[in-house]
Amino acid sequence: MNQPELFCPEFALLLGALLSFACAAIGTTTRTAWLVSLACALIAVGTSALALPYQGQPFEAGIYTVDAFSQVLKLGISVALAFAIAIAERQDSTRASARTEVHFFFYISALGMMMLVSATELLTLYIALELSAYGLYILAALHRHERLGSEAAAKYILFGAAASAISLYGISLIYGATQTTYIAEIAASGGSPLLIAGIVLTLAGVLYKLAAFPVHAWAPDTYQGAPHEASSYLATASKVAAVGLLLRVLSMAGSNPDHLRTILIVVAVLSMSVGNLSALFQKDFKRLLGFSAVAHAGYLLLGLLTFSKLGAAAAIFYVLTYVPIVVCAFLVIAAISQNGANPSIASLAGLYKRSPLLGLVLLVAMFGLAGIPPTPGLAGKWFLFSAVIEDGHIWLVLVAAVNATISLYYYLLVVKEAYLTPPGDRADIKLSPTYSVVAFVAIAIVTFTGFYPAPVWSMASSAASVLL
């Protein structure tokens, strides 16, 4: 292994994993374990930011690639991780016996995700995929209400195992078609029908991570049943990794993406429509976010199905800005949840009065998801739609924009509950300093990128230009 410095984001996560494990092993208090974990997460964010310009091949060429693409997504993953751990300050939705241990699983799965976005060889990629999944399987099961947790984890694992098996089968077909597992060589091999079939099957596992139709059904259940911080992590970090993985897998099609494009168009339209229409009827806030995540998987696919640099950059931009927006939503959930129960939409009533800051956070989250400025949701959709029109599918943009209108309805219902309904006898909410800081940081990132998308866009754009 040459150039060990290329691994510094991964090393930071490994450090976090080891220290968290040590905390659990020697039985520190929950608070100490959390502080250690948070410190390591911030170090990870710092090193990821410093490692942005790195590039190289630390192993034999073609196996593990460190480039602008992988480094930008690693930054996204570590930011999502840090937010999730900060939200985990108040772990009252997590089983009491596991509150010290959870951090280890956060780090291990984040490590898997980081390896995932750097892996350019199919077996490495598959191992990283599994590594990232196992930590999440456990996190999903740790809700303090055992039934909820078991259901969340069972759905997630069963779907995950099936999807991963199909993916593995797809990988074997790809190997059969091209006699290689190196992505660059596969992409150059010219798209034989067998290769396309292999890619389509491999997509199953990837679309599952992204929570896209038809492998989306776990998302609402798992979002609902997992502890709040785990749901937040699933909704953000996992999505970033999925976009990276998807771009790698799709790049294997090389110069022959037409069949894949047709499939992705269908998947995108159905994800948007199914996600949005189902979200209209939800009462549980986390479940609503689960369906909204399915819809957003559809938007993300719009960028990917163009197979263009603009599309890839737009998808990366969208998922990077999606992270702080979704964090806002889960911050509200973690802060208002009582005894770890899932907040219903009705329980948001009077939030503007019970905690003006949280009310603002919720407003930013909902406007961000709906794509209303001054959040980057608008710029994100605008860039995605630009890529799709450049690719010649103006009707697809119309479908997506109508979907965005539908989604506005249920996002506004949430805003309405928080801003219109009087609080009644619901008590005021006092935010911990950590939560206040998270709130301000998330709002600051969202509004700054909303007004001035250029910095994040140039990161996304440089990431995409490595790939295509």
Binding site: P373, A379, S386, I389, V397, L408, L412, K416, A454, S461
Partner: protein, 483 residues
């Protein structure tokens, strides 16, 4: 002075007020109101400065400021004004300032109200001065969304339903704009979003223009209250609190008409020529239909709401003539209608705040009870009828002259619609303002001096441009090419 980025300063006024409002505690209501009133005053003064600095003989876009925003996508923060934007910027500043003063007595959740209102005004200013399509659309969306909380929280009469209906209608408009606007960028070669560059003849083929134009026209038209997509507008008017009604009818609906003029017609003239007869018919239906429905209403605000549909129909008819006089008249009407409707709503709002009743049948002889307050209403009513001496007279005259020239039958129909307009306005005046006195309202009090000031400003503006329309037409004409 010329180096000062005056347009950006105007744009920042409501944003600064918004930030300060967020930072002030809820209990400092007077401070919050003062900050916003000050921001309104500063932007008003600066808008007048822009008007006087603008060189009408040179025309074109002036006071330009151009900063790269997202460079490799060609998005630039480009702001500049032409004659039309100068007029509409002034309109927005007037309505912002007078709107804040009209809400001086607000007590419920003051902080949030002015925060949302500042955001809305910020968006409107941005739309009027942006030359980059992305930036334009960004501000457009900023302006639209605050309407939801503003109506849903502070409104009356089925406020939640109205707010949701309004927002979803406007978002359907945006859904049409998304593909339409982005197609302009992609089809022109994917290099610039600049409206001036895209407006150059020969950029787009005729087939493309005919295909995209209706997306843009209808997308913007929904916000302009075009028939048959107008139904959100009267309901929204009725539910909204006074200042929001003023902003909604006074400036927000103008964003739609401005979008049609600046982007749909400006960038796609061949598409506009192809579709103009169709959309002119719809505009005329709007004029007659709005006036006709207004005749049957019993609620003060519904009368004004439907009259807005009718008056915005005149704007759209003027735009669809595609002629210089028609366009001048349309822009003049946008301005006049903005001021007039603001006056209407502030007059009605004043009466409603005291009586909590807006049913015309429950009133009578108000002129004897509160002569000053009703005189504002009467003046707005006269202006709404297009009586000479008020700004709207010239606006409507120009539109009708051009309409008779281009679409004679529609022109006659639209003028016939004016009879209905006169009928519904005289009906309200005859019943509620004059007519037999209803002793139930003998206790009503006149507006205080503070509340009179904004209304006097509005009347002064209406009369000023009614008597010296040439100043206005010079300004608008410098952009449309006719003086």
């Amino acid at each position: 002075m010329s180096d000062l980025p005056i347009l950006s300063i105007i744009l920042l006024c409501p944003l600064v007020a918004f930030v300060i409002t967020l930072l002030l505690p809820e209990s400092k209501a007077t401070a919050i109101k003062s900050v916003n009133a000050l921001a309104g005053l500063v932007s008003l003064v600066l808008s007048i400065v822009v008007w006087t600095q603008y060189d009408t003989t040179a025309g074109g876009y002036q006071m330009m400021q151009d900063i790269p925003w997202v460079e490799d996508l060609g998005i630039r923060y480009t702001v500049a004004v032409d004659g039309v934007s100068v007029v509409l910027t002034l309109l927005n500043a007037i309505v912002f300032f007078t709107g804040v003063l009209s809400m001086w007595t607000l007590e419920k959740r003051v902080k949030e109200f002015f925060a949302f209102m500042g955001l809305l005004v910020f968006g409107v200013f941005g739309v009027f001065i942006s030359l980059d399509i992305f930036v334009f659309f960004f501000f457009y969306e900023v302006a639209v969304l605050p309407m939801y909380p503003l109506i849903a929280i502070w409104g009356s009469t089925r406020k939640e339903y109205s707010a949701m209906k309004l927002t979803l209608f406007l978002m359907v408009g945006s859904a049409l704009l998304f593909p339409g606007l982005i197609a302009l960028f992609v089809n022109s070669g994917g290099e610039t979003w600049n409206l001036v560059t895209l407006s150059e003849p020969g950029t787009f083929s005729e087939g493309f223009q005919i295909f995209v134009y209706p997306l843009l026209y209808v997308g913007f038209g929904i916000l302009a209250g075009m028939w048959p997509f107008h139904s959100w507008s009267p309901i929204g008017h009725v539910a909204a609190p006074t200042a929001v009604s003023m902003l909604h009818a006074g400036v927000l609906m103008k964003l739609g008409a401005f979008g049609i003029l600046r982007i749909a017609i400006g960038v796609l003239p061949l598409g506009a020529a192809y579709w103009a007869p169709t959309f002119a018919v719809m505009a005329t239906v709007g004029i007659v239909y709005g006036a006709f429905v207004a005749m049957r209403q019993t609620d003060f605000k519904y009368v004004i709401g439907f009259s807005s549909v009718s008056h915005m129909g005149i704007v759209l008819l003027g735009l669809n003539t595609l002629g210089v006089d028609g366009t001048n008249g349309a822009v003049f009407q946008m301005f006049a209608h903005g001021i007039m409707t603001a006056l209407f709503f502030s007059a009605v709002g004043f009466i409603y705040d005291q009586t909590h009743d807006r049913d015309i049948r429950n009133f009578g002889g108000l002129v004897g009870q509160i002569p000053v307050a009703t005189s504002f209403f009467i003046i707005a009513a006269l202006c709404g009828m297009g009586v000479p001496g008020f700004a709207s007279f010239w606006a409507e005259l120009l539109v009708f002259i051009e309409a008779l020239r281009v679409f004679p039958i529609l022109g006659i129909a639209a003028i016939a619609g004016l009879i209905f307009t006169a009928a519904y306005i005289l009906r309200v005046l005859g019943k509620a303002i004059f007519g037999p006195t209803n002793p139930k309202w003998d206790h009503l009090v006149e507006p205080t001096a503070w509340l009179t000031i904004p209304r006097i400003i509005l009347i002064a503006v209406l009369l000023f441009f009614g008597f010296v329309p040439s100043i206005m037409l010079d300004m608008i004409g410098s952009a449309t090419g006719g003086r």
